[in-house]
């Protein structure tokens, strides 16, 4: 893998600072009220001032997102395997999974609060888990089933057992699908964790922090929390990207070769 030079990233960096400059300049020139849109410099100052509170809230919420994703992924993978093993379950369950995938799970947040307790993080973790389980299941099931037919014929010509076909063909074939699901779910899980906290929860969580600061007209603080959640989201995504590169290095390279 070639590392791209500074020149490659230059346009991105220029656009980033240009947007910041226009934002800062616009707020000053048009004298925009702080509660409408604080200037970047004001947000930055707030970010530094409340950093200890921000980081502890962010870590708490991030932990919820990661735990929820873990539970949802494991459940989704197990479901995917059963749908592949048992055609009956596949035909019965997969349409529901696809339908459930388009349900805004976050709407269940108040119900989860009722089930697991408003201040118990489990209510948030479960929301994230439910959000994650369906895309994970659908993607992994696809990866296990969408195998090049000739690969299966080849294994058949070796008189391979179903277990060998699973281990040597289906599971490796499903790995890129699994990582795709992880990437989709990394974003979904953070959204789920933060938004479920909007419906109430302990102090010292990103969602509660944002709603409370906004209610108190401390918009710079709310913006600072939004910035840190954005940074978290990107870090989470990059982490999974790195994990993918390390676990299935053949995938990205093979794709690049096909496109070339």
């Amino acid at each position: 893998m070639k590392t791209k030079g500074f020149q490659y990233y230059l346009p991105t960096i220029v656009v980033f600072f240009a947007v910041l400059a226009i934002w800062e300049g616009g707020v000053r020139v048009f004298n925009i009220q702080r509660f409408l849109l604080p200037a970047p410099s004001v947000i930055f100052t707030a970010f530094i001032d409340i950093f200890p509170r921000l980081i502890s809230s962010a870590l708490y919420t991030f932990r919820g997102a990661v735990l929820g994703m873990l539970i949802g992924s494991i459940a989704g993978i197990l479901l995917a395997f059963t749908t592949v093993r048992f055609a009956l379950i596949r035909e019965g369950l997969l349409p529901f999974a696809i339908a459930a995938n388009s349900v805004p799970i976050i709407a269940f947040a108040p119900i989860m609060n009722n089930w697991f307790g408003l201040t118990n993080q489990l209510s948030k973790i479960m929301i994230v888990a439910v959000i994650v389980v369906f895309p994970m299941m659908i993607n992994v099931a696809r990866g296990l089933v969408l195998v090049e037919p000739a690969k299966l014929e080849l294994m058949r010509s070796y008189a391979a057992t179903p277990l060998e076909v699973l281990l040597k063909v289906r599971i490796p074939n499903a790995l890129p699908f699994f990582f795709n699901a992880l990437k989709i779910c990394s974003t979904l899980s953070l959204i789920g964790a933060i938004v479920s906290e909007y419906f109430g929860g302990p102090r010292g969580t990103l969602g509660v922090f944002i709603t409370q600061e906004a209610a108190l007209f401390k918009f710079a603080n709310a913006w600072a929390a939004i910035i840190i959640s954005a940074i978290l989201g990107m870090l989470f995504y990059v982490l999974i990207l790195l994990l993918e590169r390390v676990s299935i290095p053949w995938h990205a390279s093979a794709q690049n070769a096909n496109e070339a």
């Binding site: 490796p172 053949w250 093979a254």
Partner: protein, 270 residues
Amino acid sequence: MASQQPVVSLKGVNQIFGNGSQNQTIALKDIELDIQPGEFISLIGPSGCGKSTLLRVVGDLIQPTNGDVRVNGKPAPQARLDRDYGMVFQSPVLFEWRTVQHNVELPLEVLKINKAERERRAREMLELVELSQFLKHHPWQLSGGMQQRVAIARALAFKPPLLLMDEPFGALDEITRERLNDELLKIWARTKTTIIFVTHSISEAVFLSSRIVVMSARPGRITKLINIDLPYPRDIATRESRRFFELATEVREALRAGEASRAGESEKLH
């Protein structure tokens, strides 16, 4: 030769897809064929003549509607369980997550052969197809022709007595194809494997085969068997010899005759 037990023996084989339905197709009709050990057989015919279907019936990848298929004297399903044949498809069907070496080792893993022996055989086979220096490469790093050579090495890795090849060089350019034809004949001479080779190229069939099975479409049936009496080893001089052109012409005429008889039949229907 006739006293030997045939490697493949087909008797009254019929393959009907969508049996009883509106769009029922007779893919194979009354196929009778014996293949002797060490033969290089090409199945040639227009698309839809059932040549790939016939190959899959021999390999027990599909079951014929009726008829008797024997491989080394056993029913085809038993021969498959005994790993009596290797398969090469039109696309290389390499596993992108495995290196070249581990792709060749795949059938050996299924056969529960130990690691040291697997490695030794993979090296030996890759030497045979002249890819020794690419052991640690991944499939996408190789050209199409090289990938197909890996597929051949993989098919030969467990030394099957019968090699089934389904248009293995069909997707390659003419130059690469002719080079691989040369290589395949060398491999065949060294391994003494019986080969059934599906192709729609007349020159490829004549150059490679000891015998050509000419097939015709709708219903898929054998219309002619042509012995190719060109001496082995064959090389570029063979391709340019007079006898080569005579045999190619004979195959071409047999293919035409098959088409013509079909045209005659459909006229009768109108």
